[in-house]
Symmetry: C2
Subunit: 410 residues, 2 copies
């Protein structure tokens, strides 16, 4: 490199895609706080405080509530490789791309993976999941809550009881849904759940909150192995060890727990970010944050319909924080998205697999679950649609969304 570039200087963007979205300003500020040592009393207190904050976010009393250092799929992989032994049967109901991802990660862990599928745009009735559990007899059910690829929100509230009845561990990937949709780890009987910061929690990708029930911790502990180099007399060294050091939740628990046994070096700045994301949820109030997402999602849904656009999928089961909009015939989807980004600084999302080229995905999450963000996006989208020759009702999007906000204030 002949010329060294200057400091990073990103362009202003209103991120209204399926995530990552614009972080809360205070989360960005938190990451610029000075570092402390990994065993500084301030650091271990901040870790404990972060655990307690996430208990509030997950609605759990699980002691084993912590962060995995990596993106949301690091959390998924940590949960699956720690809970599933090679050869164990795992059931994955797939209703979008991220169901395939759970199956893929479990397959990499050499699990015996069984999937059931519904058409994209639908969710599973509990009865279908129970029937599959009876047939497959898995040791673990891995189920996405909100799959942004289809915008569907799989109801989880009755699944935990079904799993308990059949002796199945219940894991859910709540990456895209946590903080913007109801989630009750304890009341719904979750054994493990993971998330990321870059969706409704309003932070950057790079830290994965996780919570584990006592039953899940027992499974993990049964596979315990303290690594050579710091292992002492009497430390566990199971032959049935987790086939990863980095994702061995037993060791990660020992690092976060009272023993503070060295594993990785906690990613301090990401911890600060994760702490602030959870702090903001509890400061505003968890139910209020979810309600704010519900309102923004309803306004965006009305808004895109007010522009004359069709919405994909079973809207009754849509996540509150993302909507899939059919791209009008004759509008070039990627060119229109690029125009929205270039001329208005607004990002909306493209799609995966069967929906690629068919729908845009528009998010209203975290910091951007706000009236001005919703209205600005609709105004920009209207202008772009008009430029590409699509028939749009002038002001129809903004008006419809404003009506929803007005109604909520009355």
């Amino acid at each position: 490199m002949t010329t060294v570039p200057g400091p990073i200087d990103p362009p202003p963007r209103l991120l209204m895609g399926p995530g990552p979205i614009s972080a809360y300003p205070s989360v960005l500020r938190a990451m610029s706080a000075p570092l402390v040592g990994q065993y500084d009393p301030f650091m271990t207190a901040a870790m404990a405080e972060t655990q307690e904050l996430y208990r509030g976010v997950w609605a759990t009393r699980n002691d084993a509530t912590l962060l995995v250092d990596g993106t949301s799929r690091a959390g998924i992989e940590a949960a699956l490789v720690s809970l599933v032994r090679p050869g164990d049967r795992v059931l994955v109901p797939v209703f979008g791309r991220f169901g395939h991802l759970l199956a893929e990660i479990a397959e990499r862990a050499l699990a015996d993976v069984h999937t059931i599928e519904v058409e994209w745009g639908q969710v599973f009735p509990v009865s279908a999941i129970e029937a599959a559990i009876e047939r497959v007899r898995p040791s673990l059910l891995a189920l996405v809550q909100g799959d942004t690829s289809t915008t569907m929100n799989q109801p989880l509230d009755e699944i935990g009881a079904v799993c308990a009845k059949h002796g199945v561990l219940f894991y859910s990937d709540a990456t895209a849904s946590l903080g913007g949709n109801d989630f009750e780890a304890d009341a719904w009987g979750l054994d493990a759940a993971t998330a990321g910061l870059q969706k409704c929690l309003g932070g950057p990708s790079g830290s994965a909150p996780i919570t584990l029930s006592e039953r899940a911790v027992e499974v993990i502990r049964s596979r315990g192995r303290v690594e050579a180099g710091i292992r002492e007399e009497g430390d566990p060294a199971a032959s049935d060890f987790v086939r990863s050091n980095y994702f061995d939740l037993g060791m990660i628990l020992d690092y976060w727990g009272p023993r503070r046994l060295n594993h990785h070096t906690e990613a301090t700045s990401m911890l600060y970010a994760a702490r602030e994301c959870a702090r903001l949820v509890l400061q505003e109030g968890r139910d209020q944050v979810i309600a704010r997402h519900r309102l923004a999602g309803a306004a965006m849904l009305s808004g895109v319909r007010g522009l004359g656009l069709e919405v994909f999928g079973d809207v009754a089961h849509k996540m509150s924080n993302v909507v899939a909009v059919e791209i009008p015939d004759a509008v070039p989807g990627d060119a229109a998205r690029a125009a929205l980004l270039d001329d208005f600084g607004i990002e909306i999302g493209t799609s995966f697999g069967p929906l690629h080229g068919r729908v845009w995905r528009i998010g209203t999450m975290g910091y951007n679950a706000r009236e001005d963000a919703v209205l600005t996006t609709l105004a920009g989208l209207e202008a772009v649609l008009r430029r590409f020759g699509a028939p749009v009702a002038a002001g129809g999007g903004v008006e419809a969304a404003s009506d929803v906000y007005r109604g909520a204030r009355e």
Copy 2:
């Protein structure tokens, strides 16, 4: 949680341990820059720019130079699980705790791991490594460069030729050494090397720079498997796949490469941090940064000797950026460290394994490889040693270190 705590507000700390150390202020500022979308032209350009910056840091022309999203051991695990198949023989020369870690991670990947050891405080002669290669016939040699547990810096400059002669892949963990000690990925014949930000690069833990030779990429590509959900006709799906999704460098390369195939969501703020760490190295000049570390290390070494302290290990092979100091008899090591932290805001490190309780480890890395940081630490340490009744030469540490800096200016 009944009361929601306030924003994070860490105490001021001068981090002079073996890492993490105080980040460069501009790295902290970089992390507070606004987010952009993961396929925003600005983001993909920032990723490409970061790759080019790290080619400068690693001294390589490797196209496959990128970041793994996680702490430094995430980079280690990605390298080992992607390069080593279950049953492959791996040779790990162990000269401290982090050699054990490489062996541990390779064992978790079900490699057939062979180790050779030297006493803590020593390094291996090339002949010993070549003899072990001839005996074990490994497919990969995994060798720590700088092991902070002993402060030793293993010479690597002749190892690549030995590996090439015997057809062995050569991997080095440069987490603790990169940026503060010589490292020449291409000239030394490395096939893979990984690092972290939290040592000489002066950033927070949470992103792992990695570079891979063409030969390493060929091995990884031979195990290619695009994940279900985004796999298309003709995409590879090897049965010999990497037993991890998150750490499959083939998929990570496709995400960073021109295909931009979705894998994880890049940790944007950590990318900004990693970019700034490398940018600072190249702006100051890589050789100048290494020389600055060498000078600070020499000053600290003279300084602790000027206080009458003994230094552990083979000083001729010491890393420039950390020194292990024998704790004087009658001084309670942990209490003295705590006093230095509480009363002066200065952190120095404890030790692992056989050295625990015997030595402190004092670092001079990244931002803190500075004269004022060295002198302040020595002044604080002197005061604490005196308080605990150790015989110390008044001003002897500061004076000896100042002399080194003065000598360098003349």
